[in-house]
């Protein structure tokens, strides 16, 4: 039996959800309501770490607050932000749920800015209605949405019969024939393997921010779900698009903070290079710094690449052009926030000091190419949230769409996965496969010597930051690919963990995560090499313009250690770009067809 080779526990469930952020949480709630057994695993502590959800800032985009802001308007904005590369069927199917999800946030006790019993939304980038579409926490800027979620979700989940397996790192998905039938995990608290036998499995593992040096989210997002999906041969897409945001480089206390971006949005912040030039005029002369997030990051990157940098290698963001009274008033409003406490400690005065700014990885847009039921093309395997990004975001995710998408996809996948589970018997698992995965996971522990992950990962991250950020070139990508292949061949087989204990052995997990990161890195570089144009978040130094023939998604499948790569043309089901447009910002959409699927009631109209 399973326990023969290694200490192993077996858990049976109808639905297994891997990942405990907002998407996994919502799927767990839904599956519970359908009435099946649910287990949700999280790599760290539920609602405390192991996820980007708890770090969300302040926008949750929700159509239907204003009478003229319909699902169509929100979908068009999303598709325009995505340079018309989105899977339009998914955009509609997911966004259709969003007003209901906002009602849930209220019901669970979330406090939002309201006026006269109605949401008082704020305007955020890309929203075509001036009144704004993003609901925002009432305590903002002193309390972020992440804080709200961390407070209300555990309370909501407590009322349901969901088993939460914390400190549980999932190594790989188990398969039988073509189907996914469970997963193998490591219980870090017990230092034992855990085998999950499940009728349906939902991946909700977030992104792969750990590929890069600086992240606005958690560095422990390491593409585990992406790598697992690739290893079972799932169809993935869009790995070439990674979203970044301006984030602080200096003062040290603020490294990785989004303050520069908030200054741009709320303090009319301006960006200059070391020569004092407002370089955004080259990228978006009309909106300047308040352009899209991809253009701002590209602007910063290009100044850095040309060496027009501040002492710590970035550009400057300043608010010094504002009047003294504006700064004093704003400072008063913001002074008790996390970032401003740090500013105070660092002795920064925003009426005369500037913040040195680079860019940090924020959101990963490659992932499982799911359909509108959140099914991957592997029976029994669903994917939601960031790990299911293949298609929903196009070439650039619209600001404050991420978490509404997660909630909606959680509802859909929770329901679909439960219904599938109800129609079938508990599947058998392949014990030889379990043992093989255990051997693989134990290899770095059992080696007597070799390279530690901490010796190799910094150089790998620097390589990714340098060659696969913005300003990608054919030569740089080729070099990066050779390096990553070298890591895979030479380093992976030599990774070693000196501490042999299995309980809370962080380095062991870091070594296994590094294996996942390398696989994702290869996919990313492959796609970036193939896309010989610049579009949205994909910026090629040697192909600076969007291409005529690139209304396509690049798909990847990893089959028995070999990559299969192909493109599919975007289906302009509901919207197509206006004549002559290549999808670039500012392009209007032309409506082709009405969406006739189910949609939630809008929040306020007719109230």
């Amino acid at each position: 039996m399973l326990t023969k080779a290694h200490e192993t526990d077996l858990i049976e469930t109808d639905v297994l959800i891997i990942g405990g952020g907002i998407a996994g949480f919502r799927a767990a709630m839904e599956a519970c309501d359908v009435g099946v057994r649910v287990v949700m695993t999280t790599k760290g502590l539920w609602a405390k770490d192991a996820g980007a959800t708890w770090m969300a800032y302040h926008g949750y985009q929700c159509w239907g607050i204003h009478p003229h802001d319909t699902l169509d308007v929100a979908a068009e904005d999303t598709i325009r932000c995505g340079w018309f590369l989105n899977n339009q069927e998914n955009v509609y199917a997911f966004l259709a749920h969003v007003p209901d999800t906002a009602r849930e946030l209220l019901k669970w006790g979330g406090k939002f800015r309201m006026e006269g019993g109605r949401f008082a939304p704020v305007w955020q980038l890309g929203q075509s209605i001036p009144e704004g579409r993003s609901i925002t926490p009432s305590q903002w800027p002193h309390g972020e949405l992440g804080y709200t979620y961390g407070r209300i979700f555990p309370r909501a989940l407590k009322k349901k019969k969901v088993e939460v397996a914390e400190d549980l790192f999932v190594v790989d998905l188990l398969t039988m024939g073509d189907s996914v039938v469970g997963a193998l995990g490591i219980d870090l608290r017990a230092g034992r393997f855990k085998v999950f036998r499940a009728k349906s499995v939902i991946l909700a593992t977030g992104g792969y921010q750990g590929l890069y040096q600086v992240s606005t989210a958690n560095a422990n997002l390491t593409g585990d779900g992406h790598a697992m999906a690739l290893r079972v041969g799932a169809d993935t897409a869009d790995f070439e698009f990674n979203q970044t945001l301006p984030s602080a480089l200096w003062p040290l206390e603020l490294t990785g903070s989004l303050l520069p971006f908030l200054m741009i949005m709320e303090w009319d912040g301006r960006m200059v290079n070391s020569e004092g030039e407002r370089f955004m005029s080259k990228w978006d002369p009309v909106k300047m710094e308040r352009s899209t997030r991809s253009l701002i990051s590209r602007g910063i990157f290009h100044e850095i690449k040309q060496g027009k940098t501040s002492p710590h290698g970035g550009v400057y963001v300043s608010a010094t052009h504002n009047s003294g009274s504006f700064i004093r008033e704003k400072w008063k409003e913001w002074e008790r926030t996390r970032d401003f406490t740090k500013l105070g400690k660092a002795g920064i005065d925003l009426s005369k000091d500037r913040i040195e700014t680079g860019y940090a990885i924020h959101y990963c847009q490659g992932g499982c190419a799911v359909n509108s039921k959140c099914e991957t093309d592997i029976p029994g395997l669903y994917a939601i949230g960031e790990v299911a990004s293949g298609g929903k975001d196009g070439a650039d995710r619209m600001m404050s769409n991420a978490l509404p998408y997660c909630m909606a996809m959680g509802i859909i996948a929770g329901r679909e996965a439960s219904q599938r589970a109800r129609t079938m018997e508990m599947p058998e698992i392949d014990e030889a496969q379990v043992e093989a995965f255990q051997e693989g996971a134990l290899a770095p522990l059992e080696r007597k010597g070799g390279q530690r992950v901490y010796q190799v990962k910094p150089a790998f991250q620097a390589l990714m930051q340098r060659e696969t950020g913005y300003g990608r070139t054919a030569e740089g990508l080729k070099m990066a690919m050779e390096e990553v292949e070298r890591y895979r061949i030479e380093v992976l087989s030599d990774l070693y963990v000196p501490n042999k204990g299995k309980r809370f052995n962080l380095e062991w997990i870091h070594a296994l995560e590094f294996t996942n990161l390398l696989l994702v890195a290869e996919g990313l570089i492959r796609n970036a090499r193939m896309r010989t144009e610049s579009r949205g978040l994909h910026d090629r130094w040697d192909h600076p313009k969007p291409g005529q023939n690139w209304f396509k998604n690049i798909h990847l499948r990893w089959v028995k250690g070999k990559w299969d790569q192909w493109t599919t043309p975007v289906e302009f089901t509901y919207w197509k770009p206006e004549e002559g447009s290549l999808g670039e910002p500012g392009s209007r959409g032309i409506k082709l067809k009405e969406y006739t699927g189910w949609r939630a009631e809008p929040l306020h109209p007719g109230k």
Binding site: G44, L45, S257, R503
Partner: protein, 110 residues
């Protein structure tokens, strides 16, 4: 951290206890560079360079997620937000039951 070549070193006394295996808690002692580092950086430095057998939590590193709370010289702090100091006795949060070393069970009070 590579820029942290310093003569000035901090003394760290690090709480160690595995309830399943040890009879009593003990302390491990380290001397490490500390200027410009947070307590979290200091723990990571020890883990990656000196002793990888102790258990601690880190995640966001920006003061959001709250999982990294420890006690430094008797005061509970978020280790990712607290500057490292010259002499540090680092203990688990005093209110909760220890699982291993600095890792506590937030669901179980002592």
């Amino acid at each position: 951290m590579s820029t942290m070549v310093q003569e000035d070193l901090a003394t760290v006394h690090l709480f160690r206890f595995d309830p399943g295996a040890d009879l009593d808690p003990r302390y491990s002692h380290f001397k490490i560079p500390y200027q410009g580092l947070t307590v979290m950086n200091a723990l990571t430095y020890i883990y990656e360079n000196l002793d990888s057998s102790f258990a601690f939590r880190w995640a966001c590193g920006k003061g959001f997620c709250r999982c990294c709370v420890v006690s430094v010289n008797g005061k509970p702090v978020l280790s990712c937000m607290e500057p490292a100091s010259k002499i540090m006795r680092i203990d688990p949060h005093p209110k909760f039951k220890v699982i291993k070393d600095l890792i506590v069970d937030f669901d179980q009070l002592k």
